[in-house]
């Protein structure tokens, strides 16, 4: 049975003073009663950590609404951050969403923070910056502290990714290289390998969800697959480029399905490609979750789109169709969209307009 889906806008988060590049949900939240938490990174050189206020009923938000009336009057007497955090307590509608600002990670990076990623345990946050460093942050009490800085890239770091077990970290950047770091006890990091192969700026790296295989995509139109051949001996085992049905322009991002047997890439050539492997599914799927297997995209035309595998059976190969287009999801380019953790069905989107929006995926009756 095919369900129809829609995206309901729950909340708009302001606060960043420049474009928001990326959002990352903390994978250890959104389950077992822990409220969902995510980080956003921006051209304003900071990272903000947001958390959904645990509210079982909607009166919490209404209180927020009442407070807002008085707060509005007091606005002239408040400055900067306080105004913003009050603002963030307001809900766009009376849904029980209420995401609030938890922390601002600043005074560390000296240029745009382009990407951020939580470790699988949710304890560490890695931030990739144009200042050529990668910051590692830890939640200490109410605040986040930068516990380590990874240096080595010659210039802008574009992306950072943790492997499934949290034992390895990968970074990539404009210097065309991909770096693999080993996570040692005591939040120490050691460079395991520097990989050259791409001929242009590497836009994103991402580890396979279950195996220690690294994928990178680049301005050189290709996707590269990197694997280890014994002790620290990493090399490129496959290149997906125009010659083997790959993209004809910059590949901006890639993403895997839950079981890791399918990968989707999106490109400046205005197409998305679905790639498959012959490997058997590594994870068993407990229960049927119909919204898994949906692909969501954010684009430079300010829209968010949803795609689903189409089972109309008229073609032998799998095909995907667009089931939803949210035009003007933001006022400017949508840079990043991320599904929430666990069973939350939340979606966060980040835009050049400096805001983050929280959406909820809902089946249409």
């Amino acid at each position: 049975m095919e369900l129809d889906w829609e995206l309901r806008e729950l909340q708009t988060l302001e606060g960043h003073k420049d474009r928001v590049w990326s959002v990352a949900w903390n994978p250890a939240t959104g389950v077992a009663g822990i409220p969902p938490m995510f980080a956003s990174c921006s051209g304003d050189k900071t990272v903000r950590v947001w958390e959904q206020t645990p509210s079982s009923s909607s009166w919490d938000c209404k209180v927020g609404f009442l407070t807002s009336a008085t707060a509005f009057m007091m606005f002239r007497f408040l400055r900067g951050e306080m105004w913003l955090s009050l603002h963030a307590l307001w809900c766009v509608d009376d849904g029980n969403c209420c995401v609030h600002l938890r922390a601002v990670l600043d005074e560390t990076h000296t240029r745009t923070v382009r990407s951020c990623a939580w470790s699988p345990s949710g304890k560490l946050l890695a931030t990739a910056s144009f200042d050529a460093t990668t910051g590692i942050w830890e939640n200490v009490g109410d605040d986040f502290e930068c516990v380590s800085t990874l240096e080595g890239h010659e210039n802008e770091v574009k992306s950072v990714s943790w492997n499934a077990s949290g034992s390895l970290l990968a970074t990539c950047g404009r210097d065309k290289s991909v770096w693999i770091w080993e996570v040692l006890p005591g939040k120490e990091f050691e460079c395991a390998s520097v990989l050259q192969g791409h001929t242009q700026d590497v836009k994103m790296v991402m580890w396979h969800p279950t195996m220690d295989i690294l994928f990178s995509c680049s301005y050189d139109n290709s996707v590269k697959v990197w694997a280890e051949d014994g002790d620290d001996d990493w090399h490129c085992v496959q290149t997906l480029n125009e010659a083997n049905n790959g993209h004809s322009s910059t590949v901006w991002a890639l993403s895997f399905n839950g079981s890791g047997d399918k990968m989707v890439t999106c490109s400046d050539d205005l197409t998305m490609k679905i790639w498959g492997t012959d490997l058997k599914k590594m994870m068993s799927e407990d229960g049927y979750a119909p919204w898994k297997g949906l692909i969501v995209t954010g684009a430079a035309d300010d829209a968010i789109r949803l795609f689903v595998e189409s089972k109309d059976g008229s073609v032998d190969e799998p095909s995907y169709k667009m089931i939803l287009r949210k035009e003007k999801a933001h006022d400017m380019d949508v840079n990043s969209v991320q599904w929430g953790p666990g069973e939350t069905r939340l979606l966060a989107s980040a835009s050049d307009d400096g805001t983050i929006k929280i959406w909820e995926l809902q089946p249409v009756a």
């Binding site: 990874l150 404009r174 290289s177 050691e190 460079c191 390998s193």
Partner: protein, 147 residues
């Protein structure tokens, strides 16, 4: 037999030399160009060889110096260096030894130099030192791309 030359032969001879003129000049020009090219090429090759040789030698020497210092430090206090760093330094030393200094047309020169540069970067990052060999060009353009 008539000892006088055949008038046809005379005509042929007359044209022969003018046809040969083109051929002769071609050959002369070719020879001149060849000699000039040989001389100029040899000179250019000498310049290129000196330049590339200097650059290569300087870079290899730089890495040799780093490896020697690191190896000494490891000998003095091995506990302070992780097994990975120790292994990388040894690998770098092997690469330096393998580099065919006297055989510039060996195909592996690019590969070995590339490996040396990557190993050097990895070791510097692991040791937390900001060393930089200022000789070779950076891998990225200087234009500031901001995406």
């Amino acid at each position: 037999m008539d000892p006088r030359p055949d008038p046809a032969d005379a005509v042929a001879d007359l044209f022969d030399s003018s046809l040969n003129l083109e051929d002769a000049h071609f050959k002369e020009g070719y020879a001149e160009g060849y000699d000039y090219g040989l001389e100029a090429g040899r000179e250019e090759a000498r310049q290129v060889g000196l330049k590339v040789g200097f650059e290569t030698g300087e870079e290899l020497g730089f890495y040799r110096g780093c490896v020697d210092v690191w190896s000494s430090a490891i000998r003095v206090d091995p506990e302070r260096f992780s097994s990975r760093v120790q292994k990388s330094v040894k690998t770098m030393e092997l690469l330096l030894e393998r580099y065919p200094v006297l055989d510039p047309e060996n195909e592996s020169v690019q590969e070995i130099m590339g490996d040396l540069r990557l190993k050097f970067k990895a070791i510097c990052a692991s040791l937390g030192v900001k060393l930089e060999y200022k000789g070779y060009p950076k891998s990225a353009d200087d234009k500031n791309m901001e995406f």
